[in-house]
Amino acid sequence: MTALTRLGDRAGRATSPGQARPHGGPRARESRWALLFLAPTIVGLAVLSAGPILAAFGISLTKWDLMTPPQVVGLDNYARLLSDDRFLKALRNTAFYTVVSVPVGLTFALGLGVALNQQIRGIAWIRTAYFLPLVTSATAIALVWLWIYSPTGLLNNLLATFGISPQRWISDPTLAMPSIIAMSIWQGLPANVIIFLAGLQAIPVEYYDAASVDGAGRRSRFRHVTLPLLTPSIFFTGILALIGSFQVFDQVYVMANPGKPSEATITLVYFIYENGFRNFKMGYASAASWLMFLIVAVFTILYFRTQDRWVHYQ
């Protein structure tokens, strides 16, 4: 729970004063043991995660189709990206997805978390129904929703009973992204609800008792006890939702019939996939992924900066 939230204030003091110690003796022996335990992790970090991030930047400065040797082109790829209409559409769609799905998804999850935080008989079974989307693959879920959204599907049939004319939920460019967002919010609810439930259950009952004694009603208790004490959970789910929303791929791949989204639904990750692994433009795809990395990093840092202003740790 606290790993990511604490990361912010850790970065500043990476080396502690107690770390400079003479070599040899039991401490050195322990270091050697640590190296043994950590060997796979260190190799993985260097070769599979931290190293490749730097490598991706290097590749982004080249033109490389994997068939001929890479040519260094400097910042050319970045300049071209910023005038590539499809990239800008991907950027805009991803931004739209983030701006809508994060606040709406979290609000729903918060409401649902409070609603499910009841000590009543059978609550475990009721929660299971709400949590089920958690374990399902976005691929299979996107198929089901494709059918729900299809011209003859469930949604249009339901709306017809209210006299609303059928819509082309996926093929209409203005409806496509909102439709995908609605589906993703549904699928993303359980994880956020579970985090909120854990946060709610950590609030001491005495706080509510004290508020009641002071004459606080249900709404006022939520406003002045629940909400402030839940801000760490809200902060935390916020960062996860923010990062997750930049990674949307599966839904778009499956729904955009099949695997070739129009400019209405293309996302950043799809753009990277398309250029890297369909067109084999390694440099171009790397440049796009580095821009995505920078955008996510900037938003994450800005988000962490707001922490002091609204997050209350107990």
């Binding site: 260190i42 995660s49 490598a55 949590f131 089920l132 299809s150 609810l189 099949p258």
Partner: protein, 303 residues
Amino acid sequence: MTARVTAAPAVGRPSARSARKLARKIAVYVALIAGGLAMMIPFLWMLTTSLKTRAEVFSSSPLSFPTGLHWENYTKMWFALPQVTFGTFFQNSIVIASLATIGQLVTCSMAAYAFAMLEFRFKRVLFALILATLIIPFQVVLVPNFILYRYLPWPFSQSGNWIGTNLPLWVWAFFGGAFGTFLLRQFFLAIPRELADAARVDGANPWQIFLRIYVPLARPALATLAIFQFMWSWNDLLDPLIYLRDLPTYTTTVGLAFFQGQFVGKWPEMMAGALVSLLPMIILFVVAQKYFVRGIALSGLKG
């Protein structure tokens, strides 16, 4: 909840109050169950569609129940593709998810032990670095990793390298991971240090302490990690899509996506396929829900 209700200032006669309490309780049940059913609609619809005939799907009301149980949709789906059955995809998914799970269990628990129990230089820096990889979108490393696997030789593949094999989908798991390391470290820290101290006095080295004391005690946390890694591997689409080239090597998700491209409009078969692909995870969830909930509540991570 009940404590809070009784703590509220008493108003009205006791019988009126208990009647109001009962009414509220019923209202809560009705609302929660209705909401739960609403959340389940996509699943219920998937099930009813998968049992209808294609004519029925387009003619009758979508909310109607199937007139007969057309299980043949499932057999049709299972054998729909030439040269492979859906069972092949299942098998591939199980192999990849199992290997990835084993890799994560072994290497994350080792790293977690070092971070929880041992003192060494750069411990904080290294731990911060690992946590930082949690918030980095992994798509940034897609291209460099693809290139790495393209240069790693493999004598048994058509390409002569790792592309087109399932190696890139699970070998990484044997090189640690942020989620598992963090999850297990938290668990190890909660184990009383006296146990390790006693073993050390008896002459046990860190490896023996890890294997004989920490691993057995951490079984619940290991189960949580295993379940999550299995689910992530099972549900992953992007990586299998990039690395797998031939139909017989496809995982369930890639197979399903391919299926959709081939059988546009065959909704009953498609829903049958989607449901079958979800079934292992749904069963796992119903059986092991507490591990899922604990894993998310502890570290708040999802796929």
